[in-house]
């Protein structure tokens, strides 16, 4: 029986090849982002302003953080449709606890635990019961949203301690604190997936579960960690959102999971597993946020915006598929 480290040497070639492909995708995204920025600056006088970048940056935070977890999950061969609902539920719980008198650190800690537990529930359903991730997370998606609505009857939770809003609204070097936290998490996530021995196993689990298992990787543990991490990050995003909005919103994030998936796929992750990078997924999220921002800046009719967003996603995935066929 080969131990994981013994196959690292021949695997290095595959790893390097995959990384080169990912780098090409990240590079292409950077070019596309640059092109959009240049065009938007030329046609809209207010695009190139700190106020706009702040708005975009703050708006990007939930997707930017969720995409880190989603990438880990996609690479491992799973995915999670419940992240939007968990975001709403955790923002509601955090606000609820604080409004009920809990201290900020206690409320935050409790919320992070709840998020991680939900993630582990998802992981347990998939690994323990063998339920298809689509079905399992569809279930938690409805249940989580339902719990948030039962708690609040649709109203948002306010009366939060004033200090809590600092991280969401006070600017550090021009950007609210939450943006810096997002960037730090993206960096950590990217470095972790690229260089950490433990997390790199996720690529093996995602590309070929059988061989991964045979080579001694604890597939169940890797999967559970990926799901738990996604839940934890959803809770982080929920807390930061509550700080920005100074209220817990049970209705937030509807449809967000699809946007997060789209960003990750645009960034190079494959729905089949084994491929993807956090940096690429983040750039994908930036790309989508830029498109949305461009449409707001240009006052594109809201009814047309959905067509544009859908078109961009389909085009991005189609180009990805064509590229794959060309490579193989």
């Amino acid at each position: 029986m080969l131990l994981a480290y013994q196959i690292h040497r021949p695997r290095l070639e595959v790893g390097a090849r995959l990384r080169r492909l990912a780098a090409a995708r990240e590079f292409a995204l950077l070019i596309m982002i640059a092109i959009i920025v240049v065009i938007m600056t030329a046609i809209s006088p207010h695009f190139m302003s700190m106020a706009n970048f702040r708005a975009m940056g703050a708006g990007l935070v939930p997707t930017g953080i969720l995409v880190v977890g989603m990438t880990y999950l996609l690479v491992s061969g799973g995915f999670d449709l419940s992240v939007g609902s968990v975001l709403a539920l955790t923002s509601t719980i955090c606000a609820y606890l604080m409004a009920a008198g809990w201290g900020i650190p206690a409320a935050v800690l409790a919320t992070l635990i709840v998020g991680t537990l939900i993630g582990l529930v998802n992981g347990g359903l998939v690994t323990g019961f063998g339920i298809n991730p689509l079905v399992a997370t569809l279930g938690t998606m409805s249940a989580a949203r339902g719990i948030a609505l039962v708690m609040t009857e649709g109203f948002s939770v306010s009366n939060l301690p004033p200090g809590f809003g600092a991280v969401g609204n006070v600017n550090v070097l021009g950007m609210p604190g939450i943006v810096w936290i997002m960037l730090a998490l993206v960096l950590l996530g990217d470095v972790g997936l690229r260089y950490s021995g433990f997390f790199r196993q996720i690529y093996f689990v995602g590309s070929n579960e059988q061989s991964a298992r045979l080579s001694g990787i604890d597939v169940t543990k890797v999967r559970l960690v990926a799901y738990g991490l996604t839940g934890l990050l959803a809770a982080v995003a929920g807390i930061l959102l509550a700080s920005r909005l100074m209220s817990g919103t049970p209705t937030a994030g509807a449809g967000l999971e699809l946007q997060v998936l789209a960003a990750a796929v645009i960034g190079g992750a494959s729905l089949k597993g084994g491929e993807g990078s956090v940096l690429g997924a983040f750039l994908g999220a930036v790309f989508v946020a830029l498109i949305n921002n461009a449409m707001t800046m240009l006052a594109v009719s809201i009814y047309w915006q959905m067509i544009v967003t859908g078109g961009v996603l389909v085009a991005a995935v189609a180009i990805d598929m064509l590229g794959r066929r060309g490579r193989s």
């Binding site: 780098a23 590079f27 190139m48 702040r54 708005a55 909005l245 449809g255 707001t296």
Partner: protein
């Protein structure tokens, strides 16, 4: 070993990283030229733009508001835009508020989905010198210049009076709503009027029609099955009326069960005309936006010269709160509400 251009010996792809850095540097240099492009765009000039940031923009309820916006634009020679998240996504509305502020419109109208989520954004708008008016729902404690609307609670009370008239002051009724702060306040208004003045009217249930025109008929049909002895249905959102009307018609109970609806979606009007719906309580939506944009524009142009320089001095010449009121739509005045 100098000038080696073959495959990377260290196992890492250094050539593509070098290309990456080269292109990044070129892009950075090109970036220095960007300010010149935007100056040209600025010089091209832009008309004054007033933006109405709403929420759940996909429902037809906003038709009157938009008509008010565009008629006002023609009257004053300005530009108006209607925007906002298509569904009840309060986080997206908060994000769009900041993006719109960055666009520096001449004025902002906001219908807040969640007042708390937008409070910080309204402060930012005020700091950026953009006058803000709130429509229907208010964002208290912020520097908005004026608020136009009607208390949802009072709208519920008017509906309650109307339903009481329709059913003769007694009987069992059902209330249909969906969980948003505005509609829930209307429910409270109905209940308050029944409790105060019509103790013989009993509310047997409050159901959720999800403000979804395809689901509402089912919701009301099930409720009628569960409570076959009701004599009235009170709706609180734009889709309640038609939903209840369809359900009552299918159950063969037209005339037995009186319906009072809210708002005045066009597809509901035929049911008022043929009597299935007793009447509806509609806001003066057209007036709300027409008046709001006019007030903001007069403020911007210092036309309301209450003091020497209202805009410059920061003294607000506009009324803090304008109750635009409601109108009862019934068979008698239905012609006025139909599209031309």
């Amino acid at each position: 070993m100098t000038h080696y251009r073959g495959p990377s010996l260290s196992g890492r792809d250094t050539t593509s990283r070098r290309n990456f850095l080269k292109t990044a540097a070129a892009a950075g240099a090109g970036g220095m030229l960007l300010p010149t492009f935007s100056q040209q765009a600025l010089a091209a000039g832009e008309g004054l733009e007033y933006v109405f940031l709403s929420i759940v923009t996909q429902v037809p309820f906003w038709a009157d508001h938009r008509a008010g916006l565009s008629d006002c634009a023609s009257a004053l020679g300005i530009k108006t835009t209607f925007t906002g998240p298509l569904d009840f996504d309060t986080a997206a509305q908060a994000r769009q508020l900041d993006e719109i502020i960055a666009r520096q419109p001449a004025g902002l109208l906001i219908f807040p989905g969640d007042a708390n989520a937008l409070a910080a954004g309204v402060e930012r708008a005020a700091e950026a010198g953009i006058p803000v008016a709130t429509i229907i729902g208010d964002i208290p404690g912020t520097p908005r210049l004026t608020h136009l609307g009607v208390s949802n609670f009072d709208a519920g009370k008017v509906g309650g009076e109307m339903l009481a008239r329709a059913i003769g002051g007694k009987g069992k009724v059902l209330i249909g709503t969906f969980p948003s702060p505005a509609t829930l306040e209307r429910v409270e208004g109905y209940k308050a009027v029944f409790k105060e003045k019509y103790p013989d009217i009993v509310v047997v249930d409050t159901i959720n029609d999800k403000a979804d025109p395809s689901y509402a008929p089912t919701a009301y049909a099930q409720a009628i099955q569960a409570h076959p002895d009701i004599v009235g249905i009170a709706g609180t959102d734009g889709d309640s009326g038609k939903g209840a009307a369809l359900a009552v018609t299918e159950a063969g109970r037209v005339g037995d069960i009186k319906i009072v609806a809210m708002d005045r979606n066009t597809d509901m009007l035929p049911y008022i005309e043929n009597g299935t719906i007793y009447g509806s309580v509609a806001q003066k939506s057209y007036t709300e936006t027409y008046l709001a944009v006019s007030l903001l524009h007069w403020y911007n142009t210092n036309a309301i010269r209450m003091v020497k320089d209202p805009k410059g001095s920061g003294i607000n010449p506009l009324p803090e709160n304008i109750v635009t009121g409601v109108v009862e739509v019934s068979k008698d005045n239905i012609d006025q509400f139909k599209a031309a």
